[in-house]
Assembly symmetry: C2
């Protein structure tokens, strides 16, 4: 009988944000898989280790997903990872693939999930706290009330179109494009009443919160990859 | 010294989706507050009870939030709830207000949170798995990959505008407006390649999943309040 692949969301950074199911799934699995080349580089592994140090006794499968955009190279690489995972599942092993945040929101796990299911093997998603919920909790703000819409906009976003959505806009993992985005935002907010916040490395020891566009502008050169920017329509009321 | 109000997200329904922090917060608080007139009516209370039956020994404060839209009546009601909570905080009590899903996404807790902070008392948000993440996990689908945007549209939505957003659209707690929405969706999808799913009472014992617009149309008369509809741009690939 085939083993099962579990895509386990471990939340954005604080080990207390782990769910009971995530922890139980990891404990019962034969192996833990991580998308980096070793344990030390994996945020997700560190999060679990703080909540459950015994994870160090588990066998670890390193499946580094390259951060490249060339489709062919990426496909070939996925194919190789897939074969490694399939081989384990065929041997009846259950594998917990760790992913920060929630596996359904911009995770590298999804590509593997679809491929494994396409091959007829069982793969299951275990929800985690998505970073934007933890970010809002850290900032002590709501994301949406009553009729407000919420829009989640991915990393590579650069234009101004998404800023014109109504309600709350969440810009995820802005990375290298963050500086340009903040410059756009600075111009845009002059004519649009809004609240602007950001959190870098939410839930981690080096977490930083920013309140207002001025703080973002001042720090735009040094913000890390895991930065979430929130733009709420309307004037501040707290 | 003032007690603290905690808005605790308990996830959408399955007790295993509770976070370590949510459970610890409830355990350490002096009282548990729920937005219904008794324990039996509270989904959130039932979720905790399955994970931690000892909750029955906690003192429970019932703060029923009326489902009304008249602003003045609502304000007067909130004011009354506020005074009850303030009185407890002034006595140094810590209060865990339970809310299904995540407290930052369309929760009744947010109104109380803002008022308590405005009065200078401490209030903190404890993240929970939002229903739409659990819904995607149940359906075994991703919400967003690569450049895809995600749009979360609240209950009362009726028009066609939100359907034209790119990427993934999540329609939350569609309630009484669901039937009309499904009728719109049925017309709309004829000219727009998309995948359509829904989950009712996600994570609960009476959870139901729907795949494809035909299943939604067939069941539109009997779908419960806690129904989430997901519309993903593009043709199905699984």
């Amino acid at each position: 009988m085939s083993g099962t692949l579990y895509g386990v969301g471990v939340g954005p950074g604080n080990p207390e944000d782990l769910t009971i199911r995530a922890l139980n799934t990891i404990k019962k699995c034969d192996l833990v898989a991580i998308p980096t080349k070793d344990k030390e580089q994996s945020h997700a592994y560190r999060i679990i280790k703080q909540a459950w140090p015994e994870i160090d006794k588990k066998e670890v499968l390193c499946l580094p997903f390259p951060m490249i955009k060339d489709k062919e190279t990426l496909e070939a690489h996925y194919e190789e990872l897939l074969l490694q995972v399939l081989d384990l599942l065929d041997k009846g092993k259950n594998v917990a693939f760790l992913t920060i945040g929630d596996p359904t929101v911009y995770s590298t796990y999804l590509a593997l999930h679809k491929r494994i299911r396409r091959e007829g093997h069982p793969a299951q998603i275990v929800s985690g706290i998505p970073s934007f919920c933890a970010v809002a909790a850290t900032l002590q703000i709501g994301l949406s009330e009553k009729e407000q819409e919420v829009h989640i906009i991915p990393a590579s976003y650069q234009g101004e179109d998404a800023l014109s959505y109504s309600g709350t806009k969440i810009f995820m993992k802005s990375g290298r494009t963050l500086k340009g985005f903040i410059e756009n935002l600075e111009k845009w907010e002059k004519n649009h009443p809004c609240e602007i916040y950001a959190v870098s490395n939410c839930g981690m020891q080096d977490e930083v919160c920013y309140d207002g566009v001025e703080e973002l502008v001042k720090n735009k050169e040094m913000m890390p990859y895991l930065t979430t920017v929130i733009v709420k329509e309307g004037n501040k009321e707290r």
